[in-house]
Assembly symmetry: C2
Homo-oligomer: 550 residues x 2
């Protein structure tokens, strides 16, 4: 297989480990833990895995461990560093006992259920060290939720002599990892389950998990592109760039990219919801900045838009809910001939509030809401090109202001969406080190017989040698939430906290960034070599949270 | 102004110079030159600048030069490295005589005409060393074509004591630089004009100019993204990514990106034209690959599409010409009410051949062709989202094949367009060195009293010390071409040569890249530090042209 010069060079990078993991390790266990909320219910649902202590790894004496076979699963969307979790796990296992073996289940959790796997040998691992992607064993979105799936897992684990499964995934996958751990304890089948915190979205994050892996690299790729576009905007001086960024519900990615690149505008969905803003409010906020910059002769700028925005606008959420109710299996609607008839039909049946929202939408978007529906008849919110929607509405508003003599600028726009460009990037040094350490930590948790834990590496704004590695009981991160109509125990999804320091930093600076005096920062591409302050820098979100940036 | 860690680190990078430029320089002049074609006409049009010798710089004795004031202009679209041409020019001028001064005309050629300028002092230059963008003095698209513009230039040059103007631009801007040089010689006003070869598109290139600056960096940025997307495609295994790439008419960018990343499919416009292919032919070629990969269980892939494709499809070109003729100031058409009526009107009036082409187009595209027209009533070809057009047509064809039982795969697609992400990237070491050397070379051409020359740096696949610097008479690159109905002397635009080595390399390998055995290469982000084979690599186009890759 042909490789680029950088692929070849990166293959020999040796990820940095916390000092405590560099030699022999001993476990330091803390007090019993509690779930973040709904303690009684979580305890009842997880009688065997609830209340376990926090674990911290420390330097210790040499110790011998019996050989174990381990299985690993990649779950959900790609995130840079997944291959390093696996190589850290592999190296850790081999160091603890050279007879340890690692199996990879293929194509995500379904590999466990359907018994699709390969043994991960040193030759295979070496091909994937410090690379992006999940292609070593593939990933998948099958959810491990049913007991028949768990039982299928037992069969293959017995066949392969597997004593532990590592699940690398986001909040839902780790919730399911804990359910699986609990089930296997209850069945006394001797299979441990360990989770690892993955997702570029950055929404698996709490007191014990400072960040999920992949967030660092993905944000750096997007920020590189945003910075390049800003330099272009500031050179050509004629375009407003509207840039939508992946990240599902939470706005962590948009926020981090804004902290790195200082755009003129960055919308934060969580703020939109908290302030009960309408789409028109958002548009008017943008228009104000466009007009102010035009008055200073600057007919260009940048706007960052989080992917999940639409669902956080209360009035839009209500409209979408009404449309979903109204149009599911609605034969009367489906029988209508023209777009116009359908539009009139919908308008007549909406509540007055939603009718206004619907009427204000550009025609193309309104059509998309009513026509392009998923197999269940639901509006496909993720397909809505919010950046184009906002451009159209901003342009319309500016035209009105121009007619009134209140705006004399020119508004030309370009739209972008970045997501797939970052999910499989070559991991930054930070993610390469962090992931390798997470995998290494998982190998120790396994060898020490732990289950229902998530591998954890903290103190991440210090040099890697000072990172603190250990394990966190997954139940500790759980609460009860309504999912598909029923209350479920789940790991709390972390949205952007409006009283958190990163958002506060944005709020304190965004007016000056919107300003006529262009404050763009140009992060440039991820560097793997060269000065440490360039190559080993964590996200600005982490630096601000840890008080390293004021 | 706040800066990223990489911005700070790059500020101190010292670009590498060819050995001949490192000390004192002497000029070696060759024989009289000829234009590449139409020698008599070009000679008649450029009596004063025709036939001048090639110039090569060699190491020589120290020499003293009288002080000169110089003006510099950035013309046209941004390209990474423009700031380094200016810093090389500045450093070169200061070394030749510390009393030399450099002025920058603001906002492109219009700065010369309208007398907008700043003096570029060491403080300003230092802020922009090794940075992307053209923001140091801005750029613009005003064409220097009229004598009143030239005369306005004389006025400001006299006022500022400017003896030479450096124009950093693409083929048209360099053509105009030569017209200006000729005019100033004819007027005996003592103002020299020197050109520098700029454009990410890579279409300013010939025997003497191996590549235009910015092409290297832009292609590396796009290839980083394509590689990341390919790793994602190969991990998720469920999407076909259709990626359109900037580059105007020529397919150099798409070709270079393909050579770097080895996608499943790369369309080359020049080949489409040479083979007289229709849109359906292109679609069928893609469909064949999709079907073959699906049979091997691979329902994913990548397709690179050059921006200029549509104009190279002979049948589309004919259709567009007919539409432009038919609809310009057509009140009858404009008075029609609905899209359907307009569609029928157009269909009735097209030639049978074009009618078929028009009828085969997806409705949305057909609508765009007839409705979204520029102020002159012309179809806006550059706005056509070719990647979406191809996706729609491929999906339609696959649905037919599925119905016939000839295709059993799944086709899900994602579209991308990359352009603005690369035009202002931080220049690669190659572009930083190349541009600095070009600017430095320009300073010597000026001090030696030359005019009508383009700065030239060759032997670019050797280490920078071995590069060959000098000057090329611009008339040497010219021929007569029809522009807006009249024959004009212009620098020959370089399209992809189908008998050239880079295309031949693609042609020899693309079947295996399309193949079931995924051959993706992942270039990763541009590196400025680290191993030289990673950091200082020129484009694969150059390496192949120079026989360094077989």
């Amino acid at each position: 297989m042909k490789k680029s010069p950088l692929q070849i060079a990166r293959a020999s990078y040796q990820p940095k480990l916390p000092k405590a993991l560099q030699g022999n390790v001993v476990l330091s266990e803390g007090h019993a833990t509690q779930s973040v909320a709904d303690q009684e219910e979580i305890k009842n649902l997880f009688p065997n895995t609830y209340g376990m202590p926090l674990i911290q790894f420390k330097e210790g004496e040499a110790k011998s461990y019996p050989a174990v076979n381990v299985g690993v699963i990649l779950s959900g969307g790609q995130a840079p560093g997944g291959h390093n979790v696996i190589s850290g796990l592999f190296d850790g296992l081999k160091k603890l006992n050279p007879a340890n073996r690692l199996y990879g289940f293929l194509g995500g959790p379904s590999g466990l259920i359907d018994h699709k796997y390969i043994e991960l040998t040193a030759d295979i691992i070496d091909e994937y060290r410090n690379t992006g992607g999940f292609d070593i064993i593939g990933s998948g979105r099958t959810k491990l939720e049913e007991t028949w799936q768990f039982d299928n897992g037992i069969t293959i684990c017995k066949e392969l002599g597997i004593k532990a499964i590592v699940i690398i995934g986001g909040d839902d996958s780790n919730t399911n990892a804990c359910v699986l751990a609990e089930y296997y304890l209850q069945k006394q089948c001797g299979i441990q389950v360990i989770g690892c915190p993955k997702t570029i979205d950055g929404d698996l994050k709490n007191e014990m998990i400072e960040t999920s892996f992949g967030f660092d690299t993905a944000c750096k790729v997007y920020s590189e592109l945003i910075g390049n576009i800003q330099r272009d905007a500031n050179s050509a001086k004629k375009y407003w760039h509207f840039i939508r960024l992946m990240g599902r519900s939470a706005s962590h990615i948009a926020l981090e990219c804004a902290l790195q690149s200082q755009p003129n505008i960055c919308i934060i969905s969580e703020e939109v919801e908290a302030k009960n803003m309408t789409l028109n409010d958002i548009v008017n906020d943008i228009v104000k900045v466009v007009v102010a910059r035009a008055e200073a002769g600057l007919n260009f700028g940048t706007v960052l838009i989080p992917e999940g925005l639409i669902e956080f606008i209360p009035a839009m959420k209500k409209l979408i809910a009404e449309l979903n109710d109204m149009l599911a299996h609605n034969e009367e609607f489906n029988a209508l001939d023209t777009d116009d008839e359908k539009r009139q039909y919908v308008k007549a049946k909406l509540t007055p509030e939603s009718r206004t929202v619907y009427s204000d939408l550009p025609k193309g978007i309104a059509r998309q809401l009513t026509l392009d529906r998923d197999p269940h008849g639901n509006v496909q919110v993720s397909l809505i090109e919010t950046e184009k929607l906002l451009i159209e509405m901003v342009a319309k508003q500016l035209a009105i202001l121009k007619g009134e003599g209140k705006y004399k600028g020119k508004f030309a726009s370009i739209n972008h969406f970045f997501g797939y460009e970052g999910r499989c990037a070559i991991p930054s040094n930070f993610d390469a080190d962090y992931c390798y350490s997470l995998g290494y930590a998982a190998s120790i948790l396994i060898s020490e017989g732990k289950t229902g834990y998530m591998a954890s590496v903290r103190n991440l704004t210090a040099p890697a040698a000072e990172w603190i590695a250990g394990g966190v009981p997954i139940t500790m991160m759980m609460n009860m939430e309504k999912r598909h109509g029923a209350m479920k125990p789940v790991i709390q999804k972390a949205l952007v906290k409006l009283d958190g320091k990163p958002f506060q930093y944005l709020a304190a600076h965004r007016e000056s960034w919107a300003d006529a005096n262009t404050s763009y920062v140009y992060p440039g591409p991820i560097q793997y070599y060269g000065p440490s302050e360039v190559c080993d820098l964590p996200t600005r979100t982490l630096l601000i949270e840890h008080g390293k940036i004021g």
